[in-house]
């Protein structure tokens, strides 16, 4: 398989964010939460504080690096949950058909009718803010597109010769699904998951920004921007770096997803809004 420029640019960006997240404890110059020092508050970028400091005098660079951990956790975990739900429902629905398929399709259509950010808000309203609720909220609300893709792939794979052959050989339904169908639709699912990570990172940032996601003093990019908003006149640099970090991370995932899609199948188009 050949990958284009987009793929490699996306892969590089994503790799950088992953390294930043993993290596944060070693490369970050300060502690993300406890180096608050009001004497140094709101300093513009300089030699000690490369990205400046925030209202509590904490180093913005350090917090931005640690922020990668939260964003990546949310992106990856929520997409794992999404893919698990989407693939399970879509594959079984497409394979078994009948009332179960009707139920799955009906549920998918209803889920598509509720904007995912709104749904996540509803879940957060019930569970309260925080990382675990956020993971559940974003993990439960964005599986409908994956489910659709899984279902339609299963439908087309089901009629393929080798799946028919496996059936004739007496393979069980589960075995056919896991050994014959699932491996053959991993490509599109992977694309959906990669693009989904981008939108999960965006949603996390947005929800944290309005105070319903990750709570301060945890260094989430979204909640850092909440603080930055109050000080935008005095200390614009506090807003610049977390925002750039979100942008580059999401850009990385999107380019990676697009690149994967283009090399897997040049004809598959983005239907995901």
């Amino acid at each position: 398989m050949r990958f284009g420029f987009n793929f490699w640019l996306g892969a590089t960006l994503t790799a950088l964010v992953i390294f930043a997240g993993i290596l944060a404890p070693w490369i970050a110059p300060f502690d993300p939460v406890f180096n608050a020092d009001l004497m140094n508050s709101e300093l513009p970028p300089d030699a000690t504080f490369w990205f400046g400091t925030d209202a509590q005098g904490r180093d913005v660079l350090t917090r931005t690096l640690y922020g990668a951990q939260i964003s990546l956790t949310v992106g990856i975990v929520s997409q794992l949950i999404n893919s698990l739900i989407g693939v399970t429902l879509g594959m079984t629905g497409g394979y078994w058909g009948g009332w179960w398929d009707d139920l799955v399709s009906g549920l998918t259509n209803v889920m598509l009718a509720i904007p995912s950010l709104i749904f996540a808000l509803a879940v957060l309203a019930v569970l309260g803010p925080g990382l675990p609720s956020l993971l559940i909220a974003l993990g439960l609300t964005n599986w409908s597109w994956t489910c659709r893709v899984a279902r339609s792939s299963t439908l087309s794979l089901k009629s393929q010769g080798y799946v028919q052959a496996a059936k004739i050989l007496g393979y069980g339904d589960m075995r056919i699904m896991f050994t014959q169908i699932l491996p053959n639709m991993m490509g599109p699912i992977l694309v959906m998951a990669t693009l989904g990570m981008g939108s999960a990172v965006l949603s996390e940032a947005a929800l944290s920004f309005i105070g319903l996601g990750i709570q301060p003093p945890s260094p989430s990019w979204g909640s850092m921007l909440t603080d930055a908003r109050q000080l935008i006149q005095l200390a614009p640099w506090i807003a610049v770096f977390p925002g750039l970090a979100i942008f580059l991370t999401v850009l990385g995932f999107n380019l990676l997803g697009d690149g994967l899609r283009d090399s897997l199948d040049p004809h598959m188009r983005t239907r995901k809004p």
């Binding site: 879940v123 947005a206 614009p236 807003a239 999401v250 983005t270």
Partner: protein
Amino acid sequence: MFIFTIRRVLQTIPTVIVAALIIFVIFSVVPGTFATSLLADGKRAADPQLIARLNEELGLNKPLVERFATYITNLAHFNLGTSFRTRQPVINLITDRIWASFILASAAMMFALIVALPLGFIAALRPGSIVDTATMIGAVSGLSVPEFWLGLVLMYIFALQLNWLPSFGYGDGSFQNLILPAITLGVAPMALLARTTRAGVLDVLHSDFIRTAHAKGMSDVKVMRWHVARNALVLIITTVGLQFGSLVGQAVIIEKLFAWPGIGSLLVDSVAIRDIPVVQGTILVIVLWFLAINTAVDLIYAAIDPRIKQG
């Protein structure tokens, strides 16, 4: 067409009911949510006796099925309940604010269309050109940028530094107040529309009937007007419909950022103070909005594409 319209509208009813059920269940099955959240002030646990009394008062001690039946019956009478906080009917709170949301979403979509359609067209006509490359880079960036951050940056530059535009508020519906939130909200649909338009137009340009049109001796302009535009429109309209719906979701954040008095900021504020009936009602209205637009899109689609009505 008439029968098709009726059928399409009727099809949405089960979706509405199931969506209402899901929203209802989310807020009901988690034990104690209503009363505890209402009474909790975040510091100490609420008095159990008080909770019990409140449950009684709100009818929360009745079985779930009965409560859902009451809920649906109320819905049918446009009764979305009463706000915990303000004691006003939820429906009034929403109708007071839905106009502002509608204006914002429409303005954002207009902005997105005005920019994205020409760019997408030009990009498709000259693939690989500078316009094409720039448009596609812009599109993937537009899909990746966090909207609220972009809004913050725009607010900083145009309102705070240059002083050209007001930084937030509704300003009694003045156009100036609309500009920044609408542009911010319009960026993501703009990016997606530019992509879809480009892909759609390219697709049409490579189809056989365009070759037929050229073989007829048609000029490029006429080929565009008579054959490309309408066929590409089908794909574009689908995207517009989907985007218009999810705009309302995104608008929640942008309304909050720009202190725009729409249903989005109502929702966020109500979630923050756990005013559950308002949250429930607002979400339901957003879902109805989304479904209404999807239905409208399907109808427009059927009017353009004769193949749809056939079944």
